[in-house]
């Protein structure tokens, strides 16, 4: 088959151009360390990379949620632990006060201590987290959870909303418990009628009973204080479960993250050994094309016509 002279030249030049562009492409990959320099190099793979990137972004969001949750739960925990200690002290005082051996004056001293402990409890119930939100106010986080109303009674100003955050694609974590469930009220039968007596009123009433040395009231108060202390214990257990969820989830998250990072690396990072080998191969064939062109282009019958 006849090959025209200009075709011979054109073909050789085209081949060398193609080889050059392959080498440039390879060089760009090596320089960036990525398998795909532009999304158009492999749109399928670049979609996979973007999906993975989104998933990884999502994991870091969960990580942040866990940080926030941990911070918030820690505020709750320290408040509840302190509250429990105070309640135990109150209970101790209650037991101490519920004996006939104490003089009225002594009981009054106890009553004063209980009142001041109640103040402390109130300030714990109004605990704020690092961002200034009232931890025990339900979703009314910018309003004091418990405050004194016009009648001098302490009332709950929050709501019963429990906020939860996503800590994985599937898992939700409840962040808070309503203040009036943690600092829970008790039922008291007054004249055959069941009444709701608030947490703080229970303590106030007990202090009152001590001060006035009302034996029936003292007995009832001791019972009620035991009951709210128990309730507090249950809240702490519930909180403990949530705190352990956070640390469990953190481990799972780290594993997940590692897995995604691994997949991402597989999808986008360049295998240098293979790439460098490939580059050498491409360089070799370019050199071969150049050398053969130099030789072939010199061949002409005219060289032999003298």
């Amino acid at each position: 088959m006849k090959i025209s002279t200009s075709q011979l030249f054109d073909n050789s030049v085209n081949q060398m151009n193609r080889q050059q562009s392959k080498i440039a492409e390879m060089q760009a990959k090596l320089a960036s360390g990525k398998q795909i320099v532009k999304p158009s190099d492999d749109s399928e793979k670049s979609a996979v990379i973007q999906r993975l990137q989104t998933a990884i972004d999502r994991q870091s969001v969960y990580e942040r949620s866990l940080d926030t949750a941990e911070n918030r739960l820690a505020s709750e925990e320290s408040a509840l632990m302190s509250s429990e200690r105070i309640l135990q002290r109150i209970r101790q005082l209650a037991v101490q006060g519920n004996t006939d051996t104490l003089s009225v004056d002594d009981k009054e001293i106890l009553a004063n201590e209980i009142t001041s402990l109640r103040e402390e409890l109130l300030s714990l119930a109004n605990t704020q987290d690092a961002n200034g939100n009232y931890v025990f106010a339900g979703s009314n986080v910018q309003t004091k959870a418990f405050d004194v109303n016009a009648d001098g009674d302490i009332i709950y100003q929050g709501d019963k909303t429990q906020t939860s955050v996503d800590i994985s694609d599937q898992r939700r974590l409840v962040l808070n418990r309503a203040g009036d469930e943690v600092f829970a009220s008790v039922d008291r039968v007054v004249d055959g009628d069941t009444q709701d007596i608030s947490f703080f009123k229970v303590i106030d009433d007990f202090a009152q009973a001590l001060a006035t040395d009302d034996e029936d009231a003292l007995n009832l108060g001791l019972e009620e204080i035991s009951s709210i202390t128990e309730g507090m214990g249950a809240s702490i257990a519930d909180l403990g479960a949530r705190i352990s969820t956070v640390s469990n989830q953190r481990e799972i998250l780290e594993d997940t993250n590692l897995r995604y990072q691994d997949l991402l690396s597989n999808a986008q990072d360049l295998d240098y050994a293979t790439a460098v080998t490939k580059l050498s191969a491409e360089l070799l064939s370019l050199e071969a094309a150049q050398a053969s062109f130099a030789k072939i282009s010199q061949l002409s019958l005219f060289n032999y016509i003298r």
Partner: protein, 537 residues
């Protein structure tokens, strides 16, 4: 003797022409579109001598082009198909690079937006986080607008490219028409000047790079051209040449008609296929228009879904949320995707209603709500349950359906669990609930929610949009490689017939040179014979 002299003289003439032809071939080695020429000789009529015939030499009859109509038309067609792939690939790759890049694409903007929604959900009262959310919402809007403008920029570019290519095509048509005029002067194609025919073929080859053409050659070598195939629109004939123009339809995305004006008769033609023009038209109809439409549809879905969540929430000031993004995006397209809320307090992070179970409830029933009809006021009511009357609101019976759902005041409520006689729930507007995250949590979950048809999330929808274009481009690249092989083959075939090879010319040069020398020897022999006779004394 006179015979021998004339045979020799004629042959010398013949080989001089043949050598000139070889020289011409060598000289035109690098001339674009040159077809190798061949000097054709024929044997002269022999003279009768008694009962025998004595040959009387040879003479030049014609110099013709080494040409094959079939390889030429193959070359044109393969050129048309090959050059159609190029604009498709180039423009599609540009779109993929813009849409698919980590920094300029939407995937990243979506991810940021949902991340800040999620961050806000863990502390909805934070003004800082609310501001970050607004910033990222604006980032999303800006990204939508930027992509829309990138796509319309590419559309504008293809508009210009189409017009430019049409102008070149029309120009080539005019050139071909004037070549036709020249060709009309001679009756048959073998007597046409080779260079004129070369010019004709070169013009047609260039035309075929712009659009696929169908060529009909007359006896004299004049051609008539139709677009695409034998049934296509007539573009050039012996008497006229058409003018093509583009009519852009601004109402539809990428809409364009190609108009043909043939001697005053104007009509639309659908037979522009192949070549650069066909490639651009293909790109517009198969890649660009769907891409713009899909981006617009995605913008509408995104705005609608996000607005639905916002308007079903309560903002930090306790009022019902308003649209976060401009709902007019459904008529304006992605280029009208804009943020309406700029105040941090206007982010409706909290749920619209507050549902409180009576603390005395003994059952494990829970009440929740969803699907709020937009604009409906939040009802304020108490849902009571008794064994005797079932669920009642203000004394009126309420009957939940099989899934436990019922509608009241434009809101769908759902009871789960089992109530006990005397249980009740109160529902009211969610005031003061700056710490509630029901609405913003729903926003954060929208990232993975399958809101698009085919069970895809918004992010999936976007990645699919980019993948579709990438796939089209990848397919075109595969076709391009295959078509390149076909075209290379056609070029080689054409070259085999019409190309100039220096080796071949060198051989011919020697051959004709030697023949010329031999002819001269014949003349000399005749001369010597004459001398021999003359010298007889």
């Amino acid at each position: 003797m006179a015979d021998i002299l004339s045979i020799g003289a004629n042959a010398a003439q013949l080989y001089k022409s043949a050598l000139a032809t070889v020289g011409n071939n060598i000289a035109n080695l690098n001339t674009d579109g040159y077809t190798r020429q061949v000097a054709n000789s024929i044997e002269n009529t022999p003279t009768a001598k008694g009962s025998s015939y004595i040959g009387s030499g040879a003479r030049l009859v014609s110099v013709t082009r080494a040409f094959n109509e079939f390889t030429e038309s193959n070359l044109r067609d393969s050129g048309s198909e090959l050059s159609a792939q190029d604009p498709l690939i180039q423009y599609a790759d540009r779109i993929v690079d813009v849409l698919g890049a980590q920094n300029s694409g939407l995937a990243d903007a979506f991810s940021k937006f949902f991340s800040s929604a999620s961050n806000l959900s863990s502390d909805p009262a934070s003004t800082t986080l609310r501001n970050v959310f607004i910033r990222d919402a604006d980032g999303l809007a800006v990204r939508f607008r930027e992509l829309a403008s990138q796509l319309s920029g590419i559309q504008q570019e293809t508009d210009d490219a189409l017009s430019l290519q049409l102008t070149s095509f029309n120009e080539l048509g005019k050139q071909l028409f004037s070549v036709n005029e020249q060709l009309k002067k001679r009756a048959t194609v073998d007597v046409q000047p080779p260079s004129l025919l070369d010019q004709r073929d070169r013009i047609m080859r260039e035309m075929s790079k712009i659009a696929k053409i169908h060529v009909t050659e007359s006896e004299s070598g004049t051609v008539s051209i139709r677009l695409d195939n034998a049934g296509g629109t007539l573009f050039v004939d012996a008497l006229n040449v058409a003018t093509l123009s583009a009519n852009f339809d601004t109402d539809t995305q990428g809409g364009v008609e190609i108009l043909s004006d043939f001697n005053g008769a104007v009509g639309t033609t659908s037979s522009v296929t192949g070549g650069e023009l066909g490639g651009i038209l293909n790109f517009r109809s198969q890649i660009l228009s769907p891409a713009i439409e899909n981006l617009n549809a995605l913008a509408v879905s995104t705005a609608t879904e996000i607005n639905a969540i916002q308007t079903n929430g309560i903002d930090a000031t306790g009022t019902r949320g308003t649209n976060l993004f401009d709902p007019n995006v459904d008529t304006l397209g992605a280029s009208g995707f804009s943020l309406l809320i700029t105040e941090a307090s206007k982010i409706a992070a909290a749920g619209l209603a507050r549902v409180t179970a009576n603390p005395e409830n003994a059952g494990n029933a829970k009440l929740d709500y969803s699907d709020i009809v937009s604009g409906s006021a939040v009802p304020d009511f108490t849902l009571n349950y008794s064994d005797a009357a079932g669920y009642t609101i203000n004394g009126a019976a309420v009957t939940p359906d099989a899934s436990g759902s019922f509608t009241f005041g434009g809101i769908t409520f759902k009871v789960s669990g089992t109530p006990v006689d005397g249980d009740s729930f109160s529902v009211s507007q969610n005031t003061n609930a700056v710490g509630d995250n029901k609405s913003i949590l729903a926003m954060s979950r929208l990232q993975n929610k399958q809101v698009l048809e085919g069970n895809r999330s918004l992010g999936d929808g976007y990645l699919d949009l980019v993948s579709d274009i990438g796939n089209a481009s990848a397919l075109a690249k595969i076709s391009q490689e295959a078509l390149q092989v076909v075209h290379d083959q056609a070029v080689a075939e054409k070259d085999k017939v019409s190309g100039v090879s220096l080796d071949q010319e060198a051989a011919d040069l020697i051959r004709f040179q030697q023949a010329f020398q031999a002819s001269a020897q014949v003349i000399q022999a005749s001369n010597k014979m004459f001398d021999s006779l003359i010298s007889i004394r």
